[in-house]
């Protein structure tokens, strides 16, 4: 058939379909769609349509890229915009047929978006959604729109017009067009495509080959699969154009066997091309001959390297050869050969169809056009995207990707698979182009983009990539074969707690030599994950090596259970949960007591870092660990005391300054080790911030008092109202060692005009005054400045003191707020308003009121903490009037200089972070005084470390752990509750008026039945066998 006739026929068929009065259904039938259950949905739909007598044309289309919403269907009712529905099930699709197709209600609650002319009430236009709006679809232009098994659909959408145009040009002119477009190889290295073609074109020889590299081997990459499944002709047309330009008569598609559907679609496409005279002899009557063969790979990553790929096509082991000679001179069977990857070929056909100038209008100076990425890992919208070059990583992650699931924080973006590297969250504003990514130490790569959050361990991920490259190294050259193995061995040691401090330097040295001396791209790029992860996450390596601690709680060799690994004090959570599940509450309390002296306090106020890492959270919701700890503390009796033993007296004296959680924890363990401990407390009651910082409605005073009594019970002498002036004084009194745990009791100043007025208080002083029982007056309207837990405590306390309206002013947004989420929620529930993106500029007194002038902020680039910096918007000042202003923006230690010790930034005491020793012999420091404001459990952990170090300093063993609970009888364990089951609701004081009229406790005790039920949800990770 003549191409023009075929084209007209295809177009008229396409138009007829568009104008048909029959319902049209487009269903995503790529690998993703099928894996998500599209076939079942289609069966259900077909059945339902027959039942309702609705005639319909069904198109099985490729991937539109919204993989997260698969199975995905587009319903096109004649004369209406089409409607997309995602996350479908058989039941849902029947419902949609009933409601939309029969009754005419398009169900805006279920619809994703519309496409085509017109709008539907309550449904956004699909391509206006943030996930699609920044995208530009060139290589993926037809994916999801056409039936990939119907060549007419491709032809009707400008298909093969690029080829027809090319055939009217000279080969050199086609090459010039590609050069003009600025297209660079999309396989990863980014070599200019036109230049590559020129080499092959200019090489002498009558037989030349073109190859399509579809050996998409990078784990985490699926762009090429989706493209071949969704629009194979776009790639094939590109190959034809390239072959014509270069003068090749034979082509190969080298595709991995793991992509059966893509292979099938290619086979169908090739057959159709032959039928249409687009393949074979004298193509389109222009005297151009071309044949294409499909070669299935047999599972070897190295075959993505072009010389290895050619060896494999020739039937040999896929091992690379040194270049030069380059394939353009001597490739397949020694003939000039041009190899481009799938995406490049698809761009070629688009460029010839629409022109080089049009193509070059997208992208940046040096990186033209668009790039496909497969977005996967810890991201809300996993899927396939095509974006203009130069777009920022931020837009990809947050706009298109929809951010990180479950409110977690982005840690790094991995590009380029095992050949690429990790880019830390702090570089999120990096533009995505070849040069910028290389500068950051990564590579563009073929387009895999895997997002990692705080639950991803960088050592583990690096080990994962090295395991891969080591296994896939072909073994031909020594640097790659042994270098990857050596690097992997070192990483394995580190992740299993066998690392040495010098390992990091050794890894770097090895990585550089493997990079410099390997034969092919596999070895030359294999060290990239090592180099970038050390460059950006060296501290994580150090944590693994020095402390045997995996901050993400991932490395199996170090982590028994993620919850206890994450607990700063290492409380054995799964074990006490099992005791609760068995009704043995005394034993549960004993387990907790083995690591901390404040079970009840932690049970009341701990912000529970453990729950954030709870594996149950990946199934449904994290276990309510904190509430169960409180339950154990309330129900358990003194069984733990039976196992607790005190060492004989050492006749050594320890002075501890400060009776907060750090001081009292150290006191408890040091007393147990036989030392005579005296605690000096400047305030009237012991407890530090537990007494004077945390409001009573969160921590009733009697709970604190009871646990402090237990400390006294082991012989600790706590002297209140005793301020300590200097360390010398303590040594003069004969103490052998000193622990400074003075906390951070001084509020940070705002540093703005007018803050010295008496109506302006700082948060810590405000909370302390209330806790002292002094009369604290607040006016009707209160502004609290800050976003941490102290700001929340201050605002909720102000409400309880009678304030009618409390407004928190915070300079960033809710996502960046450091206060714990539960606390923020409770505050809002009690009526606290939060003004985000505003910062105070000055304070003035006017007519008996405080005029607070703020400036609006917007979020700018990311700072080192991975949070976006607030930037003032010029001219956006606004004023509000308040009776009281409380500034809770930070805290620091109060006059630490009196101890004559070196200080760090923020007026904190300088210590050796491993031992907590200060530069002065016999003097140790810990808690908020060292770290700045932190949480109780951090201070307890510091107290434990101080006790260990001081005991060793005084000649002891430094062993403070005790066995207090009985051994478990695992045979008697009740079954764990594995099926889907949400966590129990934690009871709180419901009545707002009751809450706000006093400082009565808000959270209530858990009943036995609920507690046991909740404890049984624990997945018992610690019992998991290897």
């Amino acid at each position: 058939m003549n191409f023009e006739d075929a084209r007209e026929q295809a177009i008229s068929q396409w138009k007829a379909m568009q104008q048909s009065d029959k319902l049209r259904v487009l269903i995503g039938m790529g690998t993703c769609g099928r894996a998500a259950g599209a076939e079942d949905v289609l069966d259900a739909l077909n059945k339902k349509l027959v039942q309702e007598h609705i005639p319909a044309e069904i198109l099985r289309v490729g991937c539109i890229g919204l993989c997260y919403a698969e199975p995905l269907i587009e319903l096109v009712k004649p004369g209406m915009p089409s409607v997309f529905y995602g996350d479908l099930t058989s039941e849902l699709i029947s419902e949609i047929v009933d409601d939309y197709l029969v009754a005419g209600n398009p169900r805006p609650d279920l619809a994703l978006g519309t496409r085509g002319e017109g709008t539907l009430d309550g449904i956004p236009r699909l391509f206006d959604l943030p996930v699609l709006k920044p995208q530009v679809r060139i290589s993926l232009r037809n994916c999801g729109n056409i039936d990939p098994e119907n060549i007419n659909h491709y032809i009707a959408n400008s298909g093969y017009e690029g080829l027809a145009k090319a055939l009217r040009m000279k080969g050199q002119e086609v090459i010039d067009e590609i050069k003009k477009s600025g297209l660079r190889g999309r396989g990863g290295a980014g070599f200019p495509t036109g230049v590559k073609w020129q080499f092959c074109h200019d090489a002498p020889g009558d037989i030349k080959y073109v190859v399509c590299n579809a050996d998409e081997g990078d784990p985490g990459a699926f762009m090429d699969r989706a493209l071949l499944e969704g629009d194979p002709h776009a790639v094939l047309e590109g190959m034809l154009i390239g072959a014509y330009a270069i003068g090749a008569t034979e082509g190969y598609i080298y595709i991995r066997a793991e992509y059966p559907l893509a292979i099938q679609r290619l086979q169908i496409a090739l057959k159709q091309m032959e039928e249409y005279g687009l393949l074979g002899k004298n193509i389109l009557g222009c005297g151009f001959d071309f044949h294409i063969k499909i070669k299935e790979g047999a599972g070897a990553f190295v075959c993505g390297e072009e010389t290895a790929l050619m060896a494999s096509i020739e039937g040999r082991r896929g091992m690379p050869n040194p270049r030069p000679p380059f394939p353009a001179q001597s490739g397949l069977w020694g003939k000039p050969t041009n190899i481009n990857n799938v995406e490049t070929w698809s761009n070629v056909s688009a460029i010839l169809q629409k022109g080089a100038g049009w193509y070059a209008s997208y992208g940046t100076e040096k990186s033209k056009g668009t790039k496909n990425f497969s977005l996967a890992g810890k991201v809300v919208h996993t899927g396939l995207i095509e974006v203009p070059m130069g777009i920022s990583l931020r837009e990809i992650v947050y706009d298109i990707g929809g951010g990180i699931p479950e409110g977690k924080r982005l840690k790094a973006v991995q590009t380029g698979g095992p050949s690429g590297g990790v880019i830390p969250a702090s570089l999120i504003d990096l533009p995505v182009d070849y040069e910028s990514l290389a500068q950051a130490g990564s590579i563009m790569g073929s387009g895999g983009m895997v997002l990692m959050d705080e639950d991803t361990c960088m050592v583990d991920v690096t080990k994962f990539f090295l395991t891969f490259t080591q296994a896939e190294s072909c073994g031909k050259c020594i640097p790659c074969r042994w270098g990857t193995k050596q690097m992997l061995d070192i990483l394995d040691d580190i992740s299993n707690g066998r690392g040495n401090p010098e390992d990091i330097e050794l890894l770097l040295e090895l990585a550089e030599s493997v990079k410099d001396s390997s034969l092919c791209g596999l070895g030359q790029t294999a060290p990239n994950p090592v180099l970038t992860s050390i460059r950006y996450f060296r501290d994580e390596y150090e944590e693994h090596i020095k402390r045997h601690h995996c901050p993400a709680a991932v490395c199996k060799g170090l982590v028994k259970a993620p919850c206890s690994h994450t607990c700063p004090a290492g409380v054995d959570v799964p074990r006490y949960l099992r005791f609760i599940a068995q009704g043995q509450f005394d034993q549960a309390l004993a387990v907790i007591r083995e690591r901390i002296p404040f079970p009840s306090i932690c049970g009341h106020v701990c912000p529970h870092p453990c729950e954030a890492k709870c594996r149950r959270g990946q199934v449904d919701e994290a276990i309510a660990i904190r509430a169960l700890k409180r339950f154990a503390a309330e129900r358990g009796n003194g069984l733990w005391k039976a196992g607790a033993k005190s060492a004989p007296a050492t006749n050594k004296g320890v002075a501890i300054v400060g009776s907060g959680p750090a001081g009292l924890t150290a006191a408890y363990y040091l007393a147990r080790r036989g030392h005579a401990v005296t605690v000096f407390e400047a305030l009237p009651e012991p407890g530090g911030m537990m007494r004077y910082g945390i409001p009573e409605y969160r921590l009733p005073r009697e709970v604190l008092a009871e646990e402090v009594e237990e400390i006294r019970g082991v012989g600790v002498d706590i002297r209140t109202n005793s301020r300590t002036g200097s360390v010398d004084e303590l040594f003069e009194h004969g103490y052998n060692a000193v622990f400074l745990a003075i906390g951070a009791h001084q509020g940070t100043k705002l540093g703005i005009e007018g803050e010295d007025s008496p109506e302006v208080m700082d948060g810590v002083s405000f909370l302390r005054e209330i806790s002292m029982g002094n009369t604290v007056r607040v006016g009707n309207t209160v502004a609290v400045i800050g976003g941490g837990n102290a700001a929340i405590d201050a605002s909720r306390s102000a409400l309880r003191l009678g304030a009618k309206q409390v407004t928190i002013i915070y300079r960033r947004t809710k996502d960046e707020m450091p206060a714990s989420e539960e606390e923020i929620e409770e505050a809002i529930r009690e009526g606290v308003k939060i003004e985000f993106l505003a910062a105070p500029n000055r304070i003035a007194r006017k007519n008996g009121k405080i005029e607070l002038t703020c400036i609006r902020m917007e979020l700018g680039t990311t700072d080192a903490s991975g949070r976006r910096r607030p930037v003032p918007i010029e001219g956006s000042e606004f004023s509000s009037f308040f009776d009281t202003v409380i500034a809770a923006i930070g805290q620091m230690p109060e006059s630490p200089e009196q101890f004559g010790l070196p200080l760090e930034r923020g007026n904190t005491l300088r210590v050796d972070t491993d031992t907590l020793a200060t530069p002065r012999e016999g003097v140790f420091a810990g808690g908020d005084a060292v770290t700045g404001p932190a949480i109780v459990i951090d201070a307890i952990a510091a107290g434990r470390q101080a006790a260990i170090s001081i005991d060793k300093y005084l000649g002891g063993s430094g062993v403070i752990d005790e066995t207090l609970a009985s051994p478990e009888e695992l045979e008697a364990l009740p079954e764990m509750e594995e099926g889907e089951k949400q966590r129990i609701p934690i009871p709180t004081l419901a009545s707002l008026s009751e809450r706000l009229s006093s400082f009565a406790e808000v959270e209530l005790s858990l009943g036995e039945e609920l507690a046991v039920e909740e404890a049984r949800r624990c997945l018992r990770c610690d019992l998991e066998e290897d």
């Binding site: 894996a35 784990p219 985490g220 299935e296 790979g297 039937g315 996967a376 810890k378 895999g448 099926g979």
Partner: protein, 170 residues
């Protein structure tokens, strides 16, 4: 000389006992040209027919293509796809791609291993299941994934593994 990596032909599963390996091989080879570049496609076809590559088949392919047997064996052992021992009736393949790894793929693999009592590359003693891993399926958006025969199963959890392999424990 017997190679420990190569299964004795007598241990071959009952697949197509009626025709001898020889006859079936001849049938396959007759549709190929005697060129070296046909080696990998032939091996793929033979493995598809037998479930693995029997030693006699490899010798015969070498003769057919006029290649040293060592070359054929070299190619077979180079590529991950080729198997020298028979596989089970059902193939469980767990993806070890990056996206799957980040989303807990290692735990899925451990669960399958525990359930079937075999490691990757092994087959249960009743030849019911073979367990393999793959570098990446490219179904990353649905990570973690596992493939049972040809059916890709997305968004796996350890509970779903148990559900899928329900009675499959050997």
């Amino acid at each position: 000389m017997a190679n420990p990596l190569v299964a004795e032909d007598t241990q071959a599963p009952v697949l197509g006992r009626e025709a001898t390996i020889e006859e079936r091989l001849n049938g396959i080879l007759s549709s190929y040209q005697r060129n070296e570049d046909q080696l990998i496609p032939i091996l793929q076809q033979v493995q598809l027919a037998f479930g693995y590559l029997p030693e006699t088949a490899m010798r015969k392919i070498a003769k057919f293509l006029n290649l040293p047997e060592s070359t054929v064996f070299g190619v077979v052992t180079f590529y991950a796809q080729f198997r020298l021992v028979p596989s089970g009736r059902n193939m469980i393949t767990v993806c070890r791609g990056t996206a799957c790894h980040v989303r807990g793929g290692a735990r899925i693999l451990r669960e399958v291993e525990k359930h079937l009592g075999v490691k990757p590359g092994e087959t249960t003693s009743d030849f019911e299941y073979s367990l393999e891993t793959v570098a990446c399926f490219g179904a990353c958006a649905l990570a973690p994934v596992m493939v049972v025969n040809d059916k890709v199963q997305g968004r796996m959890s350890t509970a779903k593994v148990r559900e899928t392999l329900g009675n499959g424990s050997s």
